[in-house]
């Protein structure tokens, strides 16, 4: 066991990453990246989970593969912009197919979801194999980033002024877009997420809102994938809102809860990875899991231990 858990060196784990200004800038970029990804995924995930579509993120993340392949074939390059458009298009098409199958055929939602994204993924694999013997063309290499490489990514300059690293900027933009859209359309999103009948009777454009949300989800997934890889994104869509739901019942509180949670995930994951010397993204998910475990046990809303405690007090 000693080999598995190295002794915890407090100085090395908690202080050394911030000791010099060079270290600070380097590691702060990684942690900020983690916070932004968890935050944007957590915010959008709250609505997705409320709609009982928790695995939609997984579906879209697989469904974008044919879009990537087609964008690559069309442009013969790995340029970011066409890739982004292709991925978003395929993701949207994927969610459209899922919706159509669930509404217009006797299939249930989960079956429709499983059916669609596996077909899309298989189609993508087929296209990629068909492209021939290109070295290193696969989803892994095309799209999945690594959070640790954030400080190495190219920086964007505007004129002669350096603005910042590109993945950080793109995920930052996405976060701002998500926050503003949620603020502007909060009521519509809330009503359509919880009560379809009410929203129809209120005359809300339910379908438009749904696909708007799906597009937003696709954009979030693609932007985060490209910088941090796959595990983190799918986990962060689900963890923050489910964890927060053990503490709060109301949507605004759950949404606000993503902020402290994403900070805990990101810093906690960073330190855990530092201690155990392992992948940062995976450590962040482990920290998220621990937080969820604590919430599940001790959360004031339906926490298991809390309920036992309350029951005993009542008797």
């Amino acid at each position: 066991m000693n080999e598995f858990f190295p002794p915890l060196d407090l100085v090395d784990t908690f202080w050394m990453p911030w000791a010099t200004s060079k270290d600070f800038i380097w590691n702060a970029q990684i942690v900020t990246m983690g916070i932004m990804v968890s935050l944007s995924c957590g915010l959008i995930g709250s609505f997705i989970v409320a709609r009982k579509l928790a695995l939609m993120g997984d579906a879209i993340s697989h469904g974008i593969l044919p879009g990537l392949a087609i964008a690559f074939i069309a442009t013969q390059s790995k340029a970011l912009f066409p890739m982004f458009i292709g991925a978003c298009g395929a993701g949207l098409l994927c969610s459209f197919c899922i919706e159509w199958l669930a509404k217009k055929t006797p299939l249930k939602m989960d079956a429709a979801l499983g059916l669609t994204f596996t077909s899309f993924f298989a189609l993508g694999v087929l296209l990629i194999t068909q492209m021939g013997n290109h070295a290193h063309i696969d989803a892994e290499c095309l799209l999945y980033g690594e959070i640790g490489f954030t400080p190495l990514a190219e920086s964007i300059t505007w004129g002669s002024i350096e603005i910042g690293s590109r993945p950080l900027l793109s995920i930052g933009t996405v976060t701002i877009i998500i926050i503003s859209i949620i603020t502007i359309f909060y009521k519509q999103l809330l009503v359509t997420s919880f009560d379809q009948t009410l929203s129809v009777s209120l005359g809300l454009p339910v379908r438009t809102i749904h696909y708007g949300l799906m597009l937003l989800l696709a954009i979030t997934i693609v932007a985060s994938f490209e910088s941090v890889g796959v595990i983190l994104v799918i986990a962060m869509l689900i963890f923050p809102s489910t964890t927060a739901s053990f503490f709060f019942t109301r949507m605004p509180a759950i949404l606000f809860c993503s902020i402290p949670l994403s900070i805990i995930y990101s810093l906690g994951g960073f330190f855990l990875a530092r201690w155990l010397d392992c992948s940062i993204a995976a450590s962040m998910v482990v920290v998220a899991m621990l937080c969820f475990g604590i919430a599940w046990a001790f959360g004031p809303e339906d926490g298991v231990v809390t309920k036992l405690f309350l029951k005993r007090n009542q008797n």
């Binding site: 202080w15 021939g132 290193h136 999945y144 739901s245 606000f256 940062i280 004031p300």
Partner: protein, 339 residues
């Protein structure tokens, strides 16, 4: 979200504002603890006299060690047996990168996403060196040469002794420029390294002669041995493509089985850094023996060594040891008469 509609008296303790307060207090506590630690910490383990070189693959590590001796502190990101195509960095690797004075990487997309990231590192003020960037195009093998798109070179250049010598020369030039004080040391080291490469090459070609001409066929898991085949006069066929991340299609597999059966090939080979199951299956299907394990994308460990030219012993964590091991294994397996 099962509890959206329920509520109880505990929720008042956890209003958003209070939760925010709690987390702020917790954060302050954490910061205080780490500041305390700082006061007791006065030895900086990373502040070393020597400059720090970070290399990516095991091959590059050997090359850099051979040329620079112990003039620098060298950290290799990938250990023995790690497949660079699917390598994922750990937290310590990222730390090493952030502390590096120079980062030496193989290039040609061998390290996948890491190559891309390091190529960008140059723009961000980190000194990086793409070891294969200066190789002339006519020496490089492009797998899709007959198609229009030949942008993707085969990265396994270390199997060609001549190319590896010129990579060593390029590196020596760069490092002499970086550290002119020890120029002569690097030149001497380069000379003995290239001499050793030449020694191994001549010995290898001699060994290859003992394989019957009709059996000079090397069949492996993934397409890493094209340079090796070109240098040693072997025909190379692989189950997977150049990258281990491309999956073998059923057609590729069937073709390979037909080829093995039709051409009376005595043995096929597995690689140390690739899952051997597919090749083992094919071997039992075609009733050929597994000729042994070859080192392809990663060198071996120090403990393993083989006897090479002039009876010298070469440990498998060096380029020479890798070549000697591969040649001995291949020659032994392929010289046997097919059953």
């Amino acid at each position: 979200m099962h509890s959206i509609m329920s509520s109880n008296k505990f929720s008042s303790i956890f209003t958003p504002i209070k939760l925010f307060l709690y987390s702020t207090v917790l954060a302050c506590l954490l910061v205080t603890i780490s500041c305390d630690q700082r006061a007791t910490d006065n030895q900086d383990s990373f502040d070393n006299e020597k400059s720090h070189i970070v290399v990516t693959t095991t091959h590059m590590r050997d090359l850099v060690e051979k040329i620079t001796g112990n003039r620098f502190r060298i950290t290799a990101l990938m250990g023995p047996g790690v497949d660079p195509h699917i390598y994922k960095p750990t937290s310590k690797d990222i730390l090493a990168l952030s502390k590096a004075d120079i980062v030496i990487f193989h290039g040609m997309m061998l390290e996948g996403r890491l190559t891309e990231a390091l190529a960008n590192g140059k723009k961000r003020g980190i000194l990086t060196f793409d070891a294969t960037a200066a190789l002339p195009n006519d020496q490089i093998i492009f797998p899709g040469e007959h198609t229009e798109d030949n942008k993707h070179p085969d990265p396994h250049v270390w199997f060609d002794p001549k190319i590896w010598s010129s990579v060593a020369k390029e590196f020596t030039q760069m490092i002499s420029h970086f550290d002119p004080a020890e120029k002569n040391l690097y030149a001497t080291n380069l000379q003995s390294f290239t001499d050793e490469i030449l020694l191994i090459e001549n010995w290898a070609l001699e060994q290859m002669d003992s394989i019957p001409k009709s059996q000079k066929k090397l069949i492996t898991s993934h397409d890493a041995f094209q340079y090796f085949g070109r240098a040693m006069g072997l025909e190379v066929v692989a189950l997977q493509g150049v990258s281990t991340t491309t999956e073998a299609g059923l057609g590729d597999r069937a073709n390979l089985v037909d080829l093995i059966k039709a051409q009376n090939i005595p043995a096929i080979f597995v690689e140390s850094s690739v899952n051997p199951d597919a090749i083992k299956e094919i071997a039992s299907e075609c009733k050929v023996t597994i000729g042994g394990e070859l080192f392809s994308d990663a060198l071996g460990s120090k403990e393993h060594s083989s006897v090479g030219p002039q009876g010298r012993i070469f440990p498998a964590n060096t380029w020479s040891g890798m070549m000697v091991h591969n040649i001995t294994t291949i020659v032994k397996a392929l010289s046997e008469n097919p059953k």
